[in-house]
Symmetry: C2
Subunit: 335 residues, 2 copies
């Protein structure tokens, strides 16, 4: 067990100075404080207070995701996490972080400096500087829709793609569709890979033939989605499942522009079931990720990690919210 | 909210009689008590006491799995679950159940009658009568290595097959093996399916060719495993990954009987890392499922379910325990 004296000896300063650095006193320089925190992390020091009931502190880091308004994707995730954590007397700080912030403040020293026992990270991508640090972090950390290999301190939470995509294809199959396309999110993310797997498995299960011409990757953008629609229609597709709702909104709009009716000619299904689905034209059938539940899941898995239990990948149940964008296949629609 | 009076009215008995049935008083007949419990479940009645701190009760049901001795597979799972649950003031009852028991005592009424808030089931297979009931149970329930579709009250916990099988193949690849067979557990279980998937993915990742002759399904029995060994050797296999340690023990023994050295000619890897691995000849390299951790995971996921959060599929980290049954590929070994 590393002590404050060990850190002081290593740095050639007094124990008092190390204490000040660890506890955020403002009469030492920022540079010395950071040096103390980094050395403490390197030597494996942990504050005893982290495990005291009266100072239980968790945090949520957010990068590149809106969360301020009720309709924002992150809003309910944070709300659910807080609801579950507050019930068990944790303080939860919400900290938006930029690329620069991450470079300036290495992850483990930052957490130690603030006495935070564990964190949820949402909206992060592989280009974020902290992602590399997570491969060796000693801080219990949950990633939403991302997965860190080989580090038992990191857990992953997301919705069950097999279930979600399976529900979408089952529903379309029940309406007589067989030529079902998948306009996936961008290539190279864990979530796009698992949804593509799920699409292939479910199409196989139903015995529906599909080729690479039924599959495309697209940024999460309505504008960019438009370009894929006519290609799908050209190969006889009668239904399009989309990687998220924003892509689906773009598909609905482009169908209308091309003179095809949704759902008369083409059925469209989104993913996430964000509040905008009710207002789209027509209202969008979508795979629901209940974001309050997602936030709560993140808390419970983080809680296991904080207790030394290395839950790794964890999936939440999904459901399908039926609205007006899916209908019986149009038999007269030219193949 | 169903009340005791509602149940009494439905059954045409007094409220006092219903109370007796719900609370296990012994001055009413077993048949009437069961009738009361079944009706209560059917009407959606829940005891308020289930959520009181002083009567928090969980249980572990065991079918077809040894757990009494330290070396038994179930022992550490139960220990881990109890350790995590006791820390949070839950009573945990361990209840071995037979096929007959399950037929005589329907699941939900049994749980209500005992005021149990949630359960972990280990060792159950699809032929167990309660598995059908779990599709509609209202009781938070965790299954180890099994998964119930479409019921958010049921969660699944197991080790991460992708990671475990991946570690085994990475290790063998590092030793120069390319012709790696997989002697999987019996066909038709979730766990065998996911490990076979993992094997194929990892072999593909390494660019190692494999055919169906590299893959077989086998009961979890050392004796039955023996029959597969010469078939693998005939097609040039230099390493065999096994669905569990018992299968691997059988493979080691059969290799010796056929005059092949383990690991000189054939490398062997087990799965689970049970205590017997140290004593086998040679000591068995095995994918470790830390069963204490597994038990703790089961508790944390059950805890989320009891709190209304529908975590569905959850995976624990694995590791590879290196012992004497794997070595550099024998280049002189005839292909």
């Amino acid at each position: 067990m590393t002590t404050i004296k060990d850190i002081a000896d290593r740095l050639g300063v007094s124990s008092g100075t190390v204490s000040k650095g660890l506890n955020g006193a403002d009469d030492i320089s920022e540079a010395l404080r950071n040096k103390i925190l980094e050395t403490a992390v390197e030597m494996g020091y942990t504050k005893k207070s982290i495990h005291r009931q009266d100072t239980r502190k968790l945090c949520i880091f957010i990068e590149n995701m809106d969360y301020y308004l009720e309709d924002d994707f992150g809003y309910d995730i944070i709300l659910g996490f807080r609801q579950a954590a507050f019930k068990e007397s944790w303080d939860v700080e919400v900290i938006p972080v930029s690329h620069d912030f991450q470079i300036k403040r290495p992850y483990d020293p930052f957490m130690l400096g603030r006495s935070i026992s564990g964190a949820l990270l949402i909206g992060f991508s592989w280009s974020d500087p902290w992602m590399k640090e997570l491969e060796t972090t000693k801080v219990p950390t949950i990633l939403f829709d991302n997965y860190i290999k080989d580090n038992p301190m990191c857990g992953s939470v997301g919705s069950d793609s097999d279930e979600g995509i399976g529900l979408a294809i089952d529903h379309l199959a029940g309406l007589g569709h067989r030529k079902i396309a998948f306009l996936n999110g961008p290539e190279g993310s864990m979530i796009s890979e698992s949804r593509l797997d799920a699409y292939k498995k479910s199409m196989d299960k139903h015995g529906f033939a599909f080729s690479n011409r039924f599959i495309a990757h697209c940024p999460y953008s309505a504008e960019e989605a438009a370009g894929f629609v006519s290609k799908f229609i050209d190969v006889g597709v009668t239904a399009i499942i989309c990687g998220n709702d924003t892509i689906a909104f773009g598909v609905e709009k482009e169908c209308a522009r091309l003179g095809y009716s949704v759902p008369g000619d083409i059925s469209v299904i989104g993913y996430d079931d964000i509040p905008g689905c009710e207002k789209s034209d027509p209202p969008l059938t979508s795979v629901k990720q209940d974001r309050i539940q997602l936030g709560k899941c993140c808390y419970y898995v983080l809680y296991a990690l904080v207790n030394g239990v290395s839950l790794s990948r964890n999936l939440l149940r999904t459901s399908l919210t039926l609205r007006g964008s899916t209908a019986r296949v149009n038999e007269r629609f030219p193949e």
